[in-house]
Amino acid sequence: MEKRSVVIIGGGPAGLAAAVAAKENGCDDVLILERDSDVGGILQQCIHAGFGLHIFGEELTGPEYAARFHAQVDELGIEYKCDTMVLSISQDRVVTAVNSKDGILTIQAGAIVLAMGCRERSRGAVGIGGTRPAGVYTAGTAQRFVNIEGYMPGKKVVILGSGDIGLIMARRMTLEGAEVKMVLEVMPYSGGLKRNIVQCLNDFGIPLRLSHTVVEVRGRERVEGVVIAQVDEKRRPIPETFEYVPCDTLLLSVGLIPENELSAAADIPINPITNGPFVDQSMMTRCEGIFACGNVVHVHDLVDFVTIESRLAGRGAAKYALGQRTDGAHTLDVKPGFGVRYVVPSTIDPAALSYDEKFLFRVSDVFTDMELEVKVDGNVVYHKRVPQAAPGEMESVQITRQLAEKLVGQTVEIGLRPAK
């Protein structure tokens, strides 16, 4: 059986950054397995700008951001196999994959990094009624059609979901000549970044209708229109508000799901809140030697944060493969407190930190004038002011040496409380 020190599953931004970090930390035989025909992942179709402000201090487009990591991978001589599908992984770190050149590949890995990313929720996942005509797409599929393949999915467009991909596609379809009639959001607030509401909707006069959803798709061969409705506080459509909107296309931007079929089949424990594996401070899952990073762990808003997290995973995997891992001497559980949905990592060993680590978390509702608190066994060890927070924007606390020294006890809790 072929042996590799680190095998990375997925060649998107997470996999590329993890591969570079693994190589830089002493592993010479890193292998990336990618199912698409090129590396770069979803960045290849994200042609808009806004990537790289944290990592490179400049605003890059998706392909430009990917190209920087692709170049590093090439310079370091890291091997990658494209058009290669991973079929399974095992807890003793055997990776089985297939492509049309090598046939079946069976590789014993010293460490595995899971970097499979996420996929979009589709019409079935949100249960929209009506007929099943052509013209209903997820926003990411439409993005691939327009930006890579050069096809326009439609001319009169309604977008359901105000996550970033929905907002970005509202602008993109408008620039390419379509009429985007409206963006609907079932929640009373947008799930996207504020800058995208300004640049993608307000700039083009596209209305955003909060607390609205699509209740019915109409049309036989092709979408002819959708019935929209306002929803009450329990997100139930209000019958008196039903309204027919003629259109030929419905784009769905209704959330992303970490793609963990491989992880689940290998019995890697998954956090039901994030739908991604539980990880420690080095991004190791609860299975020895199997690491995870990027959107397969939890869905990020910014690729820069994926890169930062993936470097930790790559370094952790390299140390594990080289027998240098010292983590786990004394571990604290990390739990979400009031107003916080989840925290990554879910356990932490303060003695194993490099101080590049962060507590990453999302709040559960829209909050203003809050105080963020980090508590150890009930005692506040760190706090900071949070003027405003929304579930659409990931929050973080850098784990400095100063903070790490205070992590003595059993349980770390991260929560909000109203500022005085």
Partner: protein
């Protein structure tokens, strides 16, 4: 004196800016967490501009080429620039950073390739 509320788009933080204006002159900007916010507020009220990203057709290829303006262009030139890009065709190979359209619509800003095609 007039007060305007803007959301800064310079970075993903999205600061809520409050700008006071009198006779087309900016008196103060508050709510920004860095100095780029103040510059954005001034530009947004006096001469709003945006970076444009789009694609152009590649001859003999079944895929598009991603392009962008090298820097921001005036907001009111966006659709003029798009009309130029609709009709632009390039031939591979293309290197990232190659000029695809020089001085687009008299903005003195070039449209450049944002990816390489072998």
């Amino acid at each position: 004196m007039e007060t305007k509320n803007l959301t800064c788009v310079v970075c993903p933080r999205g600061c809520a800016l409050t700008v006071t204006v009198e006779d087309g002159k900016i008196l103060s900007v508050t709510g920004n967490t860095c100095k780029r916010g103040a510059a954005y507020a001034e530009a947004e009220l006096l001469r709003p501009e945006r970076m444009l990203t789009s694609t152009v057709t590649v001859e003999d290829r079944r895929r598009m080429l991603a392009v962008r303006t090298r820097s921001a262009i005036p907001k009111d030139k966006i659709f003029d620039a798009m009309r130029v890009l609709y009709g632009t065709r390039v031939s591979a190979p293309v290197q990232i950073g190659d000029v695809i359209v020089a001085d687009v619509c008299g903005t003195s800003v070039d449209v450049i390739a944002s990816e390489s095609l072998a």
